[in-house]
Every structure is written in structure tokens, then in C-alpha cells.
């Protein structure tokens, strides 16, 4: 696929506004109330194999709202071959729901045919960059559309990494024309865990290739942070969102909430706070982002996935 054409396609994507993740808990509310949400992001894997209610609900929602497909299993960074069966189903779902775009993560989920169901960190060097760009091109050719990749939350870095993550993402866009999904909360979480400056990270990204942002809550465990998606967004992340909004010129923004999911109206209200953080803030309001948050030692699970298992109705 033509890289320049991909870049052009990504830059022409429209900003649909403020969106929410589609969760089964809210299916009935959305179908019955048709709330005034700009768009919904759906987890591709929740629907691509479904012949039951999830797919039936998605068809109805896609008739009334713009939809974006967000995946967790493409495993673009893995050294296993791309899963063609998975890609086939992903493409079929995209053909059915006509998403604004299809996204996944800069990560790998397993090797040797196994799947850890985690978004594992990629070693960032020339070898991995070449490998991943080739796979992005392969996936984009198969999907017949440019794809969008998200920076994951990370909890370690490798000694063999030689490229900063923001540069790696930029090289990815240059070599493949793919778009970026900037997860602002992930930048914050990773920066705390791995000792880098989140403001610098966001400043260094290729802003014209950013088509979407994620915001979310996290759990601060004292000497590390876990990306739990189970609570409100902290002030420091809103500040980073503000910076990213200014630098990108404003792109589609989605609030992730995957555990302890609140009632729909509370979820929506938290999303709408984003409107308060779209105007320019002074730089002194953006620096010193590490403020005191309550620490919650104990078990916190990164990338919670139990919401990916269908909740059945008897």
C-alpha cells in the first residue's frame, strides 16, 4: 500500500468528538435511551466471533452512532506470524460495521502460538522497528485501510532498547503511514514507571498522525502505577490531555472504563469533563505534573480483560 496515500487518508479522518467504550452493561440503556454520545469505540474481539447478542446489539448501535473498532489481539509486535484467521474476521467485522478506523496496540501478546492476553512491551530498536513496520504494512494491505496504533502502558523497559518510544512511534508512521492513538493516561503511567518526562513524550510525537486520544483512570500503588481503567481521570492526566489537545489541534477522544464500570450517565459525565480541558493552559500549569494521589497498595491488574468475557443474560 502507498505510504503517502495512507498518511493522506489518516490526516483526512474527521474528528467525531467525544466517545465512550461500548460495554455490555450499557447495551440496554443505549438501545432504549439513545444517549447523545458522539461515537462509540468497540473492542473488536468482543464482536468478531459473536453470533449472538453482542453482534446483534452492535449492528443496531452502528446504525445510529459512528463506531471505531479497537483491538487487543493483533499482536503486531510478536515474532509469531500474523494470525490470518484473526485478520479475516477483523476485516469481516469492519465490512459489517463500517468503523471510522481500526486500531490496536504497539505490543505483542504472546509467541509460540500462546496468548498471555496482556499488552506486552516491545523492545525498541532497529530490529524490532523493521519487523513491526513490515507487519503493519502486511496488516494494512490485508485490511485495505491504514490502521491506527496505540502506545501501551508499560511496566518495564529493556536494556536492549535503543530508541525512545516517541521516536519509535514516529518512525512507524513514517514507514507505514499508519495513524496513532495517543493514550494520554498510558503516557502518564509509563512515564512514572519508567522515569521519563510525559510532557516531552507528547511534544515529540508526530501530531498530524494522531487521530484519537484515550483518557482513563489508573491505580497509584506508591512506587508504581497500574493502568486499571477503573476510576475517574486524575488531574495530571487531564493536564496532559490539554497539552495533547493543543498540539494535535483536537482529535477524537475516548474515555476508557473497563472495571467497576459505573452507570452510563456517570460514565458519560466523566467523559464530558474533557470539554473543560480543551482551551490552552499556560506552560506553568502543565509542568510539575506529579501531584500527590492516594496510594493503594495491593493487587491491581494491568489491562483488565474480564470485561472481554461475555456477560450472559438468562
Amino acid at each position: 500500500m502507498d505510504i503517502a496515500a495512507n498518511i493522506n487518508s489518516i490526516r483526512q479522518l474527521r474528528n467525531p468528538g467525544l466517545g465512550l467504550g461500548l460495554r455490555s452493561k450499557h447495551f440496554n440503556h443505549i438501545l432504549e435511551q439513545r444517549p447523545a454520545v458522539d461515537w462509540f469505540e468497540v473492542i473488536s474481539e468482543n464482536f468478531m466471533d459473536s453470533g449472538g447478542r453482542p453482534r446483534h446489539v452492535l449492528r443496531q448501535i452502528a446504525e445510529h452512532y459512528p463506531v471505531v473498532m479497537h483491538g487487543v489481539s493483533l499482536s503486531i509486535g510478536s515474532t509469531d506470524p500474523l494470525n490470518k484467521g484473526y485478520l479475516k474476521k477483523l476485516k469481516a467485522l469492519a465490512a459489517e460495521v463500517q468503523p471510522l478506523w481500526v486500531s490496536d496496540h504497539l505490543c505483542w501478546t504472546g509467541v509460540n502460538g500462546l496468548n498471555t492476553h496482556d499488552l506486552l512491551p516491545v523492545v525498541l530498536n532497529e530490529e524490532s522497528l523493521q519487523h513491526i513496520c513490515a507487519r503493519i504494512n502486511e496488516a494494512q494491505d490485508y485490511m485495505e485501510r491504514p490502521m491506527v496504533f496505540e502506545n501501551p502502558s508499560t511496566y518495564l523497559t529493556f536494556k536492549q532498547s535503543t530508541i525512545a518510544e516517541w521516536d519509535f512511534l514516529r518512525y512507524m508512521t513514517e514507514e507505514t503511514g499508519c495513524g496513532l492513538l495517543l493514550d494520554v493516561n498510558n503516557v502518564y503511567v509509563s512515564s512514572f514507571n519508567n522515569d521519563f518526562d510525559p510532557v516531552h513524550y507528547i511534544q515529540q510525537l508526530p501530531h498530524q498522525q494522531v487521530v484519537q486520544m484515550h483518557i482513563a483512570g489508573h491505580q497509584h500503588c506508591g512506587d508504581y502505577i497500574i493502568d486499571t481503567h477503573d476510576r475517574k481521570v486524575v488531574q495530571d492526566v487531564w493536564k496532559l490531555f490539554n497539552l495533547a489537545w493543543q498540539l494535535t489541534g483536537g482529535v477524537a477522544t475516548l474515555l476508557e472504563w473497563d472495571n467497576h464500570i459505573p452507570e452510563f450517565d456517570d460514565y458519560h459525565a466523566e467523559l464530558l469533563k474533557a470539554r473543560q480541558y480543551m482551551d490552552a493552559l499556560a506552560m506553568d500549569q502543565l509542568t510539575g505534573t506529579e501531584t500527590k494521589q492516594p496510594y493503594e497498595p495491593g493487587i491491581a491488574v494491568s489491562n483488565p480483560v474480564d470485561f472481554l468475557v461475555h456477560s450472559m443474560e438468562l
Binding site: 530490529e127 514507571n193 522515569d195 518526562d197 508504581y224 468475557v309 450472559m312 438468562l314
Partner: protein, 281 residues
């Protein structure tokens, strides 16, 4: 502080660098292996050889975040998929089985909906009375329950024609056709009743052996679970194998010594239509 600390300059080539492939094998191995310690090695590389320490955490603690999340995350998914079994086994035993299962059969699927696919077989393989002449009965119940719960999760999402019209009292017998999503189960324990009691938060006790039959039907994308008797199970099974209604009634009547032409069929018909077993053919 504008860059990753310790990434570019501090990597000393004390050991031969792992290839990209080997590094992923190394990390997955470290996540899946039980009992990893700071000195543990895979491919000759310790955690400190591969992972950076940060200002707050050692390399081991960085890796432990992935290791701890892996098992906690999948254990929770197993609990969601087998919530009734988890109740029956009680949390500590269920977790022990789930952890051993995940260690023995790590997921090979991109979808978590298949995570528990081999769990019933694993319970059979690892039943505590394996090899003993005198078998305990409770593992049989647990294995039947595990199979049933997994089957239900598959039925919930199976593909089927959504354009069917439900039968009603006025539908003539000759137009009655089994619902496209209807599955029959035969158990040596009252598995369906136990499942329903748990769903209704009745805190059911472990049951004694007792042959039971049930039908699971999906109507308007919702599941209905119904205990049926042996004769009904036989009758519905014949319809599933494409027997005509008349042939199924004749066979059932003969085998169970009942007069299907009388009030029995009227009662069954009403019950089956009310339960969503029939659509209009």
C-alpha cells in the same frame, strides 16, 4: 529528564544480545514460569541482564508487575466463565485448579471466550481420586458442571438465523419447528437445577447423584434453562434429529408407555411453546 534513563547509553554488552525472537521467548518464559527469582535464567539471561531497574523499582519488581497481572487477569476470566463451579468448589480450591489449568494449558486463542475450553478435560485428568479404586462422587459433579457452564457460554454466542418467528398457541402442530438455538443435556447430577439455584442466589448445597435432563434455548438473544423429564428429553432429541412430530410422539409414547395423543401432548405443547422451544416452520 527528557528521555528514558538507562536505555541508550547504559546497555553494556556483557552478554550477547538476545535476538528479537529470543527476547520475546525469554519474557514469555519469565511470565509463565512459576517460582521465578532474581537469579532465574532463561537462555542464560537473568532478569537484570534484560530488564532495566528504574528509580523506584528493581528489574525484578518491574517484571513482577507483568507476572502478577498475568495470573490475576486470567484467573478472573476463569471465575467469570465458571462462576457456578467457583461457587461449588469454593474460592481457594477453584483458584488452585484454575492456576494449575492455566499453567498446564496456557491460552492459545486470541479470544478469552475460549479460555476455559479445556478446563473440564483438565478437571477429569487431575481429579484427586485418579488412580484410586474407590472413586469419590463430587469430582463427577464438578466435571459435569464445568462442561455445562462452558457449553452455556458457547450457546449464548453461537450463530443462528435471527429471523425466526416464535410459535404460539395458535400455531398448528404441523408448523411447529424446534428453535434454531436449542441444546439438550443429560447429566448424572441435577446440574441445571444447581446452576439455576446459584443464578437465583439460593446458595445451593452440593447435590447427590440423580439423573437429570435439561434444555437450553436462546430466545431473543437471551438464554432459557429448563429442567425436562426423560421422556421430554427423548422426544426433543428425536425432533433435533429431524424426526417428524408424529414419529417423535409415537416413539416417545411407545418407549415410555404414555399416551401422547391425549392431555400429555397438550401439556407439553403448552409448556414447550411458552418456553420458546418452538418456532413456526
Amino acid at each position: 529528564m527528557n528521555g528514558y534513563t538507562g536505555l541508550i547509553d547504559d546497555y553494556t554488552m556483557e552478554k550477547e544480545a538476545l535476538s528479537y525472537t529470543d527476547l520475546q521467548q525469554w519474557m514469555q518464559g519469565m511470565i509463565l514460569r512459576q517460582g521465578v527469582e532474581p537469579g532465574s535464567k532463561i537462555a542464560g539471561h537473568t532478569i537484570m541482564d534484560v530488564v532495566n531497574a528504574s528509580g523506584r523499582l528493581s528489574a525484578m519488581r518491574h517484571l513482577d508487575i507483568y507476572r502478577g497481572s498475568y495470573i490475576a487477569r486470567l484467573r478472573e476470566c476463569m471465575r467469570n466463565q465458571f462462576h457456578t463451579l467457583a461457587h461449588a468448589l469454593e474460592a481457594p480450591l477453584f483458584e488452585a485448579f484454575a492456576d494449575d489449568y492455566l499453567a498446564t494449558y496456557p491460552s492459545q486463542s486470541y479470544t478469552l471466550n475460549n479460555l476455559g475450553e479445556r478446563f473440564p478435560a483438565f478437571l477429569e485428568e487431575t481429579r484427586p481420586d485418579a488412580g484410586l479404586a474407590l472413586k469419590e462422587t463430587w469430582p463427577d459433579f464438578m466435571i459435569e458442571l464445568a462442561k455445562f457452564e462452558y457449553a452455556i457460554s458457547m450457546i449464548f454466542d453461537e450463530a443462528a438465523d435471527g429471523d425466526t418467528i416464535m410459535a404460539d398457541e395458535a400455531t398448528p402442530d404441523e408448523q411447529l419447528k424446534l428453535a434454531p438455538v436449542l441444546h439438550l443435556f443429560h447429566h448424572s447430577y441435577p446440574v441445571c437445577k444447581y446452576y439455576l439455584d446459584h443464578a437465583q442466589k439460593k446458595e445451593p448445597e452440593l447435590p447427590f447423584p440423580e439423573e437429570s435432563h435439561c434444555a437450553v434455548v436462546r430466545q431473543h438473544y437471551k438464554l432459557g434453562l429448563f429442567v425436562v423429564n426423560r421422556a421430554q428429553y427423548h422426544f426433543l432429541g428425536l425432533l433435533q434429529s429431524r424426526s417428524s412430530l408424529a414419529a417423535a410422539m409415537e416413539s416417545t409414547g411407545a418407549q415410555f408407555q404414555i399416551n401422547m395423543a391425549g392431555t400429555i401432548w397438550e401439556e407439553w405443547r403448552k409448556h414447550f411453546i411458552g418456553s420458546g422451544f418452538f418456532v413456526r416452520g
